[in-house]
């Protein structure tokens, strides 16, 4: 047995040991990195009705409470959600057959009835949208669901970044005075790099 053979033997042993250990070490390092990583989320909010106002603010405020970095990009009708007064947001039953029509008052059996009103009537009767909006506002109150105003404030307080599509401001003839203070007015080129780095990206 020469020295060369012995070296080759040692080398083989080392290699075999390394191959065993490397995946373990790598997995451990990856797990540690995953655990210490701050989550992040980028949302695009495009809708301006009372029902659609909830998802971006609920998810945004909750993600911030979990310690994530959150930014919401408001564009098109989503800008309605940033107006100083959001108490006039409406819900439309038109083209929304999934919406249950239940009364938020009266005895239990009455509240349980789902009023099956054909969409064509909901669309045609003047004032139906106002009634549907009032019913939904009452239902929201009855169920201890936060108001949009409150969820928006909680989101901002928790550090959620609100950025606004300046193009939409121009397109719809808004002015910055129409909206709450503390907003970033930007374009698509500002949103995309944020979205690129985010773990979760949602379009609403």
């Amino acid at each position: 047995m020469g020295a060369t053979a012995e070296i080759a033997n040692i080398e083989e042993l080392v290699n075999r040991r390394l191959e065993e250990l490397l995946p373990q070490k790598l997995e451990e390092a990856l797990r540690q990195r995953e655990e210490s990583k701050t989550g992040s989320m980028a949302i695009i909010a495009t809708r301006g009705t009372l029902d659609w106002a909830y998802p971006p603010f609920i998810l945004g405020s909750t993600a911030a409470a979990l310690g994530w970095d959150v930014s919401i990009f408001f564009t098109f009708y989503g800008l309605n959600l940033l107006k100083k007064d959001v108490s006039d947001l409406k819900v439309s039953p038109l083209g929304n057959p999934g919406m249950p029509m239940k009364m938020p008052f009266g005895p239990e059996w009455f509240r349980g009835i789902n009023w099956n009103i054909p969409n064509i009537i909901q669309a045609g009767v003047p004032g139906f949208e106002t009634v549907a909006t009032m019913l939904m506002q009452q239902t929201i109150k009855n169920n201890g669901v936060a108001s949009i105003q409150e969820l928006r404030e909680l989101s901002l307080e928790a550090g959620v970044t609100f950025s606004v599509c300046q193009m939409t401001v121009d397109l719809f003839g808004f002015s910055h005075d129409d909206f709450i203070p503390g907003l970033d007015y930007v374009g698509a080129a500002s949103f995309l790099p944020m979205a690129q780095k985010a773990d979760v990206t949602l379009f609403m």
Partner: protein, 75 residues
């Protein structure tokens, strides 16, 4: 179980119990315990997930009638 602060989240719905708990925890110092009482059935799984994500330990949780209680230790 002993606790340093109490949060009444009864009647509040998702995501308010979590948001309020987060705020209350921020007022505690590390190691102190927050007791939360809620009536939202969804909050049972939500508080477990919240604790796991934020590293604030969920020491105990329980159910009494239609109420749920949680003891969370500030990280």
């Amino acid at each position: 179980m002993n606790f340093d602060k109490e949060l009444d989240a009864r009647g509040l719905n998702c995501p308010l119990p979590i948001l309020r708990a987060k705020k209350s925890l921020a007022e505690l110092t590390s190691g102190q315990v927050l007791r939360v009482v809620s009536t939202d059935p969804g909050s049972v799984k939500d508080f477990a997930a919240f604790a796991k994500q934020t590293g604030n330990e969920l020491l105990a949780s329980g159910e009494q009638g239609k109420e749920f209680e949680f003891f969370i230790k500030r990280k």
